[in-house]
Every structure is written in C-alpha cells, then in structure tokens.
C-alpha cells in the first residue's frame, strides 16, 4: 500500500506536476474569484437582518475553512515524515505554512471588519476568536522555526513535532462555540442543513473552490522552490530545469 502511494510522490513527478498545473491554477483561481466576487457583491440579495455586511462571510468562511484545513494537512504530513521519513511530506509541510498563515490572517481581518457593524466592536477575546489568534501565532512560530536551523533535516523534525502538538488547537477552534459561551455564532452549515437561505448559500462553495485554486498555485510554487533548494546540486534538478 505504502509503496503503491509512494511511487506517485517521487520528487521529479511532483515537480513536473506542479510545473504543469501551477499557472493554470492561478488563471482559473483569479477568473473564478472575480466572477464569484461579482455574484456575491452585485447579484445576491441583501440579507434581511444584516443587510450588506453579510457579504463579507463569503470571504471570511472560506478563509476560516482553509486556515484549519491547511494546519491539519501540515500535522498529517509532519506525522508521515516522522514515521516514514518521506522527504516529500516534509516538503509538503514546509510549502503549506505561509498559505495557512495568510488564510488565518485573512479570517481575523475579515472577521474584525464584519464584527464592527454587527457586534459593535472589531475585537473581543471570545473563545473562537482567541483560539484562531493562537493559530496565527502557531503559524508564525512554525515559519520562524523552519528557518532557524542550519540543517534542513533537523528543521523538518522539529517543525513536524511542533505541527503535530499544535494540532490540538484545531478541535478547540471548531468546538469553541459549543464548549463556551461566545459572541461568535455556531456553525451556519451543518450535516443536518443550512441556516443560510438557498438563494445565497450556493456562492459559498464556489468561493471556496476559487480560494482552493489560488492556494494551490502558491502551494505548487512553494513545493518547486523547496525541491530546488533541497536538491540544488543533484543531476536530477539539472535535468528538471533543462527538461
């Protein structure tokens, strides 16, 4: 099973896949973001209670989803790296850090801008917002940690361990609105249904998809940068650059 999966994640194959898909991903992501943003800003009707401000949620929610998903992805890759010592897992982990950092910063900024007209304040130290702020600190810490070691291997090991330990914050963020009394509302979309009207909710998965394409572009370029910097003196890299 492991060997079957591993053959698809050889460094050259991953590099070539990233090279072939990166710019397509950027193009699709940019166009789809602009189209979906147009729909969200000008086509969807205003909300009965929140009026225009609810439109912020179409960028806030995808940012929130990706801030957590990216961290889970990093923790899983950290675990795989520590157990099986697969180089590509360490590369995936390193390549995802700045994406997670940006999404976490975005969720906090867009949430603050939504909070001012809705709650009357940009910021409150409630459980959801505080735990998301902790996630931002974690991303900054991991990014700093990654560049603090001369040896890539040591950095990969330490970053993997920290990423795995830090994953404890993800369920805290997710369930904070249920475990504590928070100003932040509980989930609007659950397995049992959505409290957002069907006339508006369809734009949300489309925005998530356009965020995913833009994130994939950054991720694939990060992977290429990591592969090149880790193997700059090898014949394989020379062939990859010439090929």
């Amino acid at each position: 099973m492991y060997k079957y999966i591993a053959k698809y994640f050889l460094l050259e194959k991953v590099f070539l896949f990233c090279r072939a898909t990166a710019l397509w991903s950027l193009g699709i992501g940019t166009v789809s973001f602009l189209l979906v943003a147009y729909v969200c800003l000008f086509i969807l009707p205003a909300d009965a209670t929140q009026s225009e401000v609810y439109r912020i949620l179409f960028v806030h929610v995808p940012s929130a989803i990706f801030s957590e998903l990216v961290y889970i992805f990093m923790a899983i890759n950290g675990f795989i790296y520590l157990v099986w010592r697969t180089k590509i897992s360490a590369i995936f982990l390193s390549s995802a850090i700045n994406i997670g950092l940006v999404f976490t910063a975005l969720v906090l900024v867009t949430g603050a801008l939504w909070g001012k007209p809705t709650w009357g304040t940009y910021w409150v130290w409630d459980a959801r917002i505080t735990s998301t702020f902790v996630l931002l600190i974690q991303y900054i810490g991991i990014l700093a940690l990654k560049s603090s070691f001369n040896s890539k291997e040591t950095a990969d090991q330490i970053v993997s361990i920290v990423a795995i330990i830090g994953a404890i914050n993800i369920p805290i963020i997710k369930f904070s609105v249920e475990w504590w009394n928070t100003l932040h509302q509980s989930a609007s979309i659950t397995f049992s249904g959505s409290s957002i009207d069907a006339e508006m909710v369809y734009a949300l998965p489309l925005m998530i998809l356009s965020f995913a394409f833009l994130a994939f572009f950054i991720f694939s370029r990060n992977i290429q940068i990591e592969i090149l910097s880790r193997n700059s003196n090898t014949k394989k890299v020379r062939e990859l650059l010439n090929g």
């Binding site: 943003a37 912020i56 700045n98 940006v102 950054i218 290429q224 940068i225």
Partner: protein
C-alpha cells in the same frame, strides 16, 4: 463607516493578499531557477 465600503475592503484585502503572496512566490521561484541555471552554466 459605510457598511458597503467594509464589504468591498474585505474582498479587496482577500484578493490582494492571495495574489500578492502568489506574485511573491512566483518571483522567488523564477529567481531561484535563474540562479541555478547560471550556476550550471
């Protein structure tokens, strides 16, 4: 502040941040490729 202005600001910040990071990594990648090719030459 006008609420619609806040909405536009959020969309602009999200788009500019993601594209900004994209441009940053693209430039970093191209510089790295150029440096390596110069080294090989």
């Amino acid at each position: 502040m006008d609420s619609l202005l806040l909405v536009y600001a959020c969309y602009f910040i999200a788009f500019a941040t993601l594209i900004g990071l994209g441009v940053f990594v693209e430039i970093k990648f191209r510089n790295q490729v150029k440096e390596l090719q110069d080294d090989y030459d």
